[in-house]
Amino acid sequence: MTTANTALLANAGTLAPPAHDVTVIRHTGSSRIAAAACIVLLVAMVTMPWWGQSGHIRWVVEFSVYLAIAQMWNLLAGYAGLVSVGQQAFVGVAGYTMFVLTSNFGINPFLAVWLSVLVPGLLALPTYALLHRLDGPYFAIGTWVVAEAVKLIVLNIDYVNAGSGMTLRVMSQYSLHEREVGIIWLCASMLLATVGGSYWLLRSRHGLALTAMRDNPVAAESQGVNVKRLRFLIFVAAAMGTGLAGSIYYMAQLRITPAAGFNPSWANICIFIVMVGGIGTIEGVLVGALIYFVADRFFAQYGAVYMVVLGLMTLLTALYARQGIWGLIVSRIHIPLFPVGRKLIMPSQTATGRPQ
């Protein structure tokens, strides 16, 4: 039922607008509060270099990066049905491109970050061409092998110092404050582009197509959703969004190596955040990213035990709570923070004291 409805609605743009006595509700009280909170947080974020500590700014950068790459994976796995375990390929190539552009071509690093997302976008084209016909697990393994292959190729390129990696020396021409302003503003733009962009996309007419595709790709196709094209566009967009996060992360690190940039743990972070938080929702990604960030930031010092716990949490989610922690929350209380749906209110529901 839901499938057919969402698919039908995806086509609604071509239909006549709904009769004027039906109201379409697209916001709730909780979502207005959430929207206001986002604006406040964003303002706080971009002004942070003037009031925050450097250590905390680094935390915000890290958290933003996790949020962005996880939301990109959420679009892939949660809506397009493309389960990639090779997102580290895009993190790595974007990071390396940014380092090469600044160190070897003298391009301004803050500009180079934006230019660097073109390369993961380009890498996504042959990758998708090679893998798009494969279903589920084949696709997943394929993306992983592509990422391993790209890593091994970079490991063999002397131009980027092979296995020893590169250092971002040009950043020393900026003061710490300048660097912090630059990076935090990049992070804010990145969040607007990845998370905000996803939210906008899901609330747009394409969002209905995406939701229809998530629920049932075959039915969506039959309702006129161009599933193939949509999947392709999402794969490329997610590659670029993931690359942007990678560039910013390694700009903050000032150093990149093949082992770090192409580390499969990037894919692990995506999978953990989205699956444990709640696949197919933006709120779930927020919850998952918070859990991962807190665990990584405060428990890593006690050894690898926290990763054992995170692994087991992923396992338990897959076994008992497929919709993740956010799914458990909304099954008890309905507080959508980022609603993407449309709720129709019929006149009979809104009218009070209707004459019998």
Partner: protein, 285 residues
Amino acid sequence: MKWLDALIQGVLLGGMYAQYALGMALMFGVMRIVNIAHGDLVVLLALIGITLSVAVGLGPLPLVLVLVPLAALIGWGLQKFVLNKVVGADSLPSLIATFGLSIALQNLMLEIWSADTRSMSGGGIEAASVNVGGIYIGLLPVLILIAATLLTGGLDLTMRRTRFGRALRAAAADTEAAAMTGVNPRVVYAYATAIAVGILGLSGVFFALRATVSPADGPAQLIYAFEAVIIGGMGSIWGGFVGSMVLGIAQAIGFRIDPGFGTLAGHLVFLTVLATRPQGLMSKG
């Protein structure tokens, strides 16, 4: 001579991969279950083996007798308590569940054994080799290849000729139809995974004898097993063996071209097969 040597070393390397691929061919190829923890289980068994050989002084053969039943028990439990809850048309839940297990296992091993690499002493067998016309052939790799061949042949016969094999193929083809024909799919799957992981008990010993082992080695073993099964063709037990040989030879030849190109050559062959013959080399059609 250089290339003949590469070919022989590649086949011997393929023998090692064939041991991982065998369990994978059964689980992924036949049952369509994605077990991301496959490689970590090899490493876990190898590390347990190394610890036992140091602490108790067990030789390789007694170790096999201890590790294979232990591995089979782990496999049985894995299927019964984890995978039976996530099998179905959608492979994402099994992928995510075993992915979580893999992360947990890797880090648990890191806590127990630290990141150091270790190896097992096999009383000289790991270094013994014969010189055949100028090419050194290691005794251990030959032993591994023979074991892999026998196991593959045995498993293939089991799948084709026995009650268990028929029940497993039936359950994999149509779980519900198998159940209404009297098969208990959950039990059959639990035994199948016990076999798939049980074989890793043997592979774990060979792995520890042949190379150094560290807790982070799992994913590489996993990717080779996946590649071998897909190169060979899903659903075919011998396919995994053939795929392992192709992968081993590709890596050995790549390594002779440039030491940095070995693993990459294997990946490139895999991607080529994926692009041109996604159903695999051994599968019909």
